[in-house]
């Protein structure tokens, strides 16, 4: 019962702020709405019982990425400056396509998802299990991606620095 | 080491040699010796072939080399010759020799010119000895680039347009041919791309239709059959002399030869069923080319349309499907190849002196350049089918064959095609009369020098070949005839 209420509140937050994030006229507001959406998403993970994901979501997204955004906004925007509004035509086309896309995928998914689902109660996933899964080399264990993504991260850091570095 | 490979190796070696040549003398030496060697090899091959036949070798193809090339697609490097290929090789080597001599003094980038020319000839030689669909197509396509460059760089007039047109249309032809080839290979169910092997398999008739149309039209484009001929006038007229000679002497024959070796030989049932369409086109082509030639004023255009007319006759003969007509078709191939080469050679010689090809700008040239004039006249007379020259033999054989078919369609078409005999005379004599006879009105024309030694040699070789075929046709017709039997058997199955 409480779960339901929480879920609905979170859903509402996500839905409303998602839309607001992409319609707001000010960048900083958009970023703030995005933050709300991300945090609400983290809340959903909590409902699902994925505390670890909740933590990561909050830390990486709401913490790391948002900071990046704020920096970028501050770097590129004059304070309080509004961005040029998009043309009506472009908006209309974008709305038509995204609504059509949403209905299309929603229809396909909802009508075909097939399996009736019951949330099986599950004991909290402990960090040990998560750690074992992350560090294992067997099936359903993820050491390999973990190692590989390190290359990605390193490459992105190097690349980002190279691009963002000022002319020496 | 198979004897036939010489025909591909010599041009290749010529290319390599030319690549390292660094002065005019070396270039000429390499090309001349190469082309002489080719000519000698072709003559040698003819004798070897006759010898093999004389000692009773009745194999369909002789001197076969069969090297698996791409086993996954059953592609073999498979070469071999029958009488038809032998004479086509002979023809090609004669024309190559003559062309090399004609372009003896070419002044811009001679090295590149001959490199591309060698590649061009390698393609033709390779085509005529190939027995594998893939190698056949390989060599067919190989000549595309050299043609484009030779016309585009060394040509005259609206050369770029012509080069593009030629390249694209010939590519169009090749594309259809390739489609046909793929179809033949996959639908026959044969585990081979060997022509002889494929001939033993029967493809369902409804599929044959598509494949036949595709491959025949494809080869028809290359062989300049109406209405796919429009690259010919532009291409030939813009090309430098020796390339014009090669184009109409050999390249157009690739189309006809291919149509015979691939479309008709491998798809006999469809060929029978659909022959009438192409027969009409071919007969019309004969008539049409001749009449169009009548209205032209540019020497090369005249000869180009004449070629269309004569090559139309060739396709016409193939589609009659009897031994005599097909023999005639091959005779016409050689004959037309030689005659048109002679024509283009002399036109080139005239052009190099007058710098115009418009017949209205010239007259009375016989007086100042009698050798070239006589050669031109000989080409003309041979072209209009004077007995003693090759054209006569070829046309007569075709028509005798054509008259063997009694139904109305054949009769009417044969009569239409036969009118070209007269029209040919009209346009040839018109040109000869305008260009060579009469009195010279242009003062500059009085200073022309007659043919140089290389021009003379080139012309004489061609004339000897034309007259030789014209006076001793049996030698060649027997060689063709010997080799036709398998095809006819296949055709009549």
């Amino acid at each position: 019962m409480e779960v339901h209420i929480v879920f609905y509140i979170l859903s509402l937050i996500i839905a409303v702020f998602s839309v607001m994030a992409v319609t707001s006229g000010r960048l900083i507001r958009s970023a703030t709405y995005l933050l709300f959406v991300l945090l609400a998403t983290a809340g959903l993970y909590l409902i699902l019982g994925y505390q670890y994901l909740f933590a990561v979501q909050t830390a990486v997204y709401a913490g790391g990425i948002m900071v990046l955004f704020i920096f970028a906004i501050l770097l590129t925007q004059r304070p309080g400056g509004r961005i040029t509004p998009e043309s009506v035509k472009q908006r209309v086309f974008a709305i038509i396509l995204s609504v059509a896309g949403a209905f299309f995928s929603g229809f396909i998914i909802i009508s075909n998802i097939g399996r009736v689902s019951h949330l099986v109660d599950m004991k909290e996933i402990d960090s040990r299990h998560i750690g074992m899964t992350l560090m294992g080399t067997g099936k359903f264990q993820y050491l390999m991606p973990f190692e590989v993504i390190s290359v990605l991260l390193l490459a992105c850091i190097v690349g980002a620095i190279m691009i963002a570095r000022k002319r020496s | 080491m198979n004897f036939l490979l010489i025909f591909i190796l010599i041009p290749m070696l010529m290319m390599v040699g030319l690549f390292f040549a660094n002065n005019r003398k070396q270039i000429n030496l390499i090309t001349l010796s190469g082309s002489v060697l080719l000519l000698l090899s072709a003559i040698g091959l003819t004798f070897l072939y006759l010898h093999q036949r004389a000692i009773g070798n009745t194999a369909e193809m002789l001197f076969i080399t069969d090297v698996p090339w791409y086993p996954a697609f059953n592609i073999h490097f498979l070469v071999g010759v029958d009488g038809i290929s032998v004479i086509m090789l002979l023809l090609s080597s004669i024309i190559v020799f003559a062309s090399v001599l004609v372009s003896w003094k070419i002044d811009t980038m001679p090295k590149e010119y001959f490199i591309w020319f060698s590649l061009l000839s390698a393609g033709a030689f390779g085509f005529f000895i190939s027995l594998d669909l893939f190698t056949l197509f390989f060599f067919l396509e190989m000549s595309l680039v050299p043609k484009f460059l030779l016309i585009g760089i060394w040509g005259s007039g609206k050369k770029e347009y012509s080069a593009f047109k030629l390249a694209l249309m010939v590519m169009g032809g090749s594309v259809l041919v390739l489609f046909g080839i793929l179809g033949i290979y996959y639908f026959s169910g044969a585990e081979s791309m060997n022509l002889l092997e494929l001939a033993k398999h029967t493809i369902p008739l409804n599929i044959q239709y598509y494949l036949f149309v595709s491959s025949f039209v494809g080869f028809g484009i290359i062989g300049a059959m109406f209405p796919f001929h429009s690259w010919v006038p532009d291409g030939h007229s813009s090309a430098p002399t020796s390339v014009s000679m090669f184009l109409s002497g050999i390249s157009m024959k690739l189309g006809a030869y291919g149509a015979f070796r691939v479309a008709i030989f491998l798809l006999p049932e469809a060929a029978h069923q659909l022959a009438w369409i192409f027969l009409i086109l071919a007969a019309f082509s004969v008539f049409y080319g001749a009449f169009t030639a009548l209205a032209q004023t540019d020497l090369k255009y005249i000869n180009a349309y004449a070629s269309i007319s004569h090559c139309g006759l060739l396709f016409f003969a193939f589609l009659i499907f009897n031994e005599t007509a097909i023999t005639g078709a091959f005779l016409q191939m050689i004959s037309h190849g030689l005659i048109t080469a002679l024509f283009f050679a002399t036109i080139g010689m005239i052009y190099s002196r007058t710098h115009t090809r418009m017949i209205n700008d010239m007259n009375g040239l016989m007086k100042v350049i009698p050798f070239i004039g006589v050669s031109f006249t000989i080409a003309g007379l041979a072209s209009l089918g004077l007995p003693g020259f090759s054209g006569f033999i070829a046309e007569m054989t075709i028509f005798v064959g054509a008259f063997q078919e009694t139904d109305l369609l054949h009769r009417v078409l044969t009569l239409i095609a036969a009118t070209s005999i007269v029209i040919t005379a009209v346009y040839i004599l018109r040109v000869v009369g305008k260009v060579l006879f009469g009195t010279i009105t242009n003062k500059h024309h009085l200073e022309f020098a007659d043919a140089t030694w290389w021009e003379r040699v080139s012309v004489i070789v061609l004339v000897i070949a034309i007259a030789g075929l014209g006076s001793a046709p049996m030698l060649f017709s027997n060689m063709i005839n010997d080799s036709l039997q398998p095809v006819l058997n296949n055709l009549m199955r």
């Binding site: 472009q90 086309f93 974008a94 396509l97 059509a100 896309g101 299309f104 396909i108 | 047109k165 694209l168 249309m169 109406f226 209405p227 001929h229 429009s230 690259w231 049409y288 009449f291 169009t292 009548l294 209205a295 032209q296 031994e323 005599t324 023999t327 009375g364 009698p370 007379l381 209009l384 089918g385 004077l386 007995p387 003693g388 006569f392 007569m396 054989t397 028509f399 005798v400 064959g401 054509a402 008259f403 063997q404 009694t406 009569l415 036969a418 005999i421 007269v422 005379a425 009209v426 004599l429 009369g433 060579l436 006879f437 009469g438 009195t439 046709p473 049996m474 017709s477 027997n478 005839n481």
Partner: protein, 633 residues
């Protein structure tokens, strides 16, 4: 009789040698070689004739010999072209005619053509012509005949166009070649059809009269005429083209642009009678299987004879007059063949035609050579530049007169005998036809004497330098031919040449003969009155028939009609539109592929706006579309 092969080989060799040396030898050497070779050929021909006619009729019927035959080209097992030599009465007769006239012309030309540029070339062409003509007459099969037929055509082309710097000569040579070629097309089609149904080219088989040979054509007809009639008519068209029968006669007068000895050889004595020879050669086939065509030949012959005789009366160029007279005389020969039957007395027409061919060759060659001599003297062809030449050119005058008398049919000159046989044959066939023929014979006498008087009598033309008689080398042939003309009539021709090979005794039909001689005499008399002295009679007559005369002078506007057909119809209405069609439609279609591609390329460039959101839009839209398509379809 293997040596007969030499008759062909020697001129060919001469041609090749003379053609190759071009102008590196002295003119005289070339002429001597040509003439010597021709002399040898003539001797061989006479020897052949002598030995053939003396030995080859053991049973009273002449046998055929084929001393030489080789397969030259094989079309199929049954159809092959052989090159061979057929010796039978008419071929032997022709050998004699051709070699004699050719030899005379060779000798004559030594001086006549002296100093011309291209003398060697001239002799080379003469040799080529002799070779081709001899090959034609000895042909063993119809295809061999066609081959040489074409070769004589081309040598005629080359010789007419000998003075290639003269536009008229070039035009004339072209015209001659194209018209004969046009006719040859029908000939060729005839040959193809004939050979298809009979499975042979051989004269021997064709002429055997064996109906089984033609069994293939039985019951086949087209437009109401039997197939054999069609075939033989087509073949005849070929002959008509060469022999300048109406309406394909127009090339012959123009052909007079060639050197005069050439006209004598080709366009009077030998090549132009090839058509007659062709019909004679295939006579049994015509007679047995295409009698309608044979009759048609007679009618065409007589029409042509009349038609050209009328024109001949009005021409002023002496060579043209002779040319029309030639056409007319060939018409006579055609009539002879056309009315002939088979064997014995029925075969009279055939025999007469051949006889006339023989005599005509001699006296017409004589006339031309004489005319050449005159032209040599006055350097003009026009009659009004001549007159009163008899004192300057006595030998020419006498020989020319002899020839005129011969052609006019005055006994005892050879023309009388041969023409008379034709007349009687025609009378037997159809009296009206015969009467008309006599009238034409009268016309012939009239215009020939008009010519004769115009050249040698009438008012003297003021020449810049005094004309002088031709050198001996030119006179010898004249004298020789005059002698032949005088005496040839007494040859018992029927003994040698008949269509069944059997002996036929010629007898003069007195009624016909007297009537024709009378007509001729009257005609000569009229001519004498009108043209011997300069007077106004002819002008008056001309002015009273001015319209008709104008039409005739313009040769009934046939040339103009041809010009109209070729220039207006073939060039403007067929050729030019086709060329236009080619450049615009066919070429345009091909180019339009390129244009359409370019155009499309230009039209669609809007897709690539450079705006990344639009890219994403297309991206997503395509994704959804593909998904929808794949799911719902």
């Amino acid at each position: 009789m293997q040596y007969t092969l030499l008759i062909l080989v020697l001129p060919l060799l001469a041609f090749v040698v003379l053609g190759l040396v071009d102008s590196r030898w002295k003119a005289r050497t070339a002429g001597t070689i040509g003439t010597t070779v021709m002399g040898i050929v003539a001797i061989l021909a006479y020897y052949t004739a002598w030995s053939y006619f003396t030995t080859a009729n053991p049973g009273g019927v002449y046998q055929k010999f084929i001393p030489f035959q080789m397969e030259w080209m094989k079309f199929s097992d049954q159809l092959h072209i052989d090159l061979g030599i057929l010796i039978d009465p008419i071929s032997v007769m022709m050998l004699v005619v051709v070699s004699t006239v050719s030899l005379m012309v060779h000798i004559y030309s030594l001086r006549y053509m002296e100093g011309e540029k291209g003398f060697e070339r001239y002799y080379a062409f003469l040799s080529l012509f002799s070779f081709s003509m001899l090959g034609l007459v000895v042909a063993t099969n119809i295809f061999q005949m066609y081959i040489f037929w074409e070769l004589v055509g081309v040598s005629s082309y080359l010789l007419i166009g000998f003075y290639y710097t003269k536009p008229e000569a070039v035009a004339a040579s072209k015209k001659a070649f194209i018209i004969t070629r046009f006719a040859d097309l029908f000939f060729l089609i005839g040959i193809f059809l004939l050979s298809y149904y009979t499975r042979t080219f051989d004269f021997d088989v064709l002429n055997s009269g064996n109906a089984t040979v033609f069994a293939g054509t039985a019951g086949l007809s087209f437009l109401g005429l039997s197939l054999m009639n069609w075939i033989m008519a087509l073949i005849f068209i070929g002959g008509a083209g060469k022999s300048a029968m109406f309406p394909m006669h127009i090339w012959l007068p123009d052909a007079m642009e060639g050197p005069t000895p050439v006209s004598a050889l080709i366009h009077a004595a030998t090549m132009v009678v090839a058509g007659v020879y062709l019909v004679a050669r295939l006579f049994p086939v015509y007679y047995f299987f295409a009698p309608e065509v044979l009759h048609g030949i007679a009618y065409i012959g007589i029409f042509t004879a009349l038609f050209s005789a009328v024109i001949a009366c009005t021409q002023t160029d002496i060579k043209r007059v002779l040319a029309y007279s030639t056409i007319s005389q060939i018409g006579f020969m055609m009539v002879g063949l056309g009315v002939s039957g088979m064997g014995g007395h029925h075969g009279l027409g055939y025999m007469a035609s051949m006889f006339h061919l023989f005599t005509h060759a001699m006296f017409k060659a004589l006339l031309f050579l004489g005319a050449g001599s005159v032209i040599h003297a006055v350097h003009s062809n026009e009659m009004n530049k001549m007159g009163g030449l008899r004192k300057y050119l006595p030998v020419t005058h006498i020989t020319f007169l002899i020839a005129c008398l011969a052609i006019a049919g005055i006994p005892p000159f050879s023309g009388f005998f041969s023409k008379d046989e034709i007349l009687s044959a025609a009378f037997e066939f159809n009296p009206y036809l015969g009467s008309l023929l006599i009238f034409i014979a009268g016309l012939t006498a009239f215009y020939m004497f008009r010519l004769y008087y115009g050249i040698f009598w009438t008012k003297e033309y003021k020449h810049e330098h005094i004309p002088h008689e031709s050198p001996l080398a030119m006179l010898l042939p004249l004298i020789f031919l005059a002698l032949v003309t005088v005496f040839a009539g007494f040859i018992p021709f029927g003994k040698f040449v008949t269509n069944d090979g059997a002996d036929y005794h010629i007898h003069i039909d007195l009624v016909t003969a007297s009537v024709s001689v009378a007509v001729a005499a009257v005609a000569i008399a009229i001519s004498t009155i009108m043209y011997r002295k300069e007077n106004k009679i002819s002008d008056r007559i001309v002015s009273s028939f001015s319209v008709f005369f104008k039409i005739v002078v313009h040769k009934f506007y046939i040339d103009e009609l041809y010009m109209f057909i070729t220039k207006k119809i073939v060039f403007r209405l067929i050729s030019a539109p086709i060329a236009w069609f080619d450049r615009t439609l066919v070429n345009g279609t091909i180019n339009s592929f390129a244009t359409v591609t370019q155009w499309t390329s230009l039209q669609i460039k809007g897709i690539q706006t450079g705006r990344v959101q639009q890219y994403a839009f297309v991206f997503l839209l395509s994704t959804l579309l593909i998904a929808a398509l794949i799911i719902f379809i």
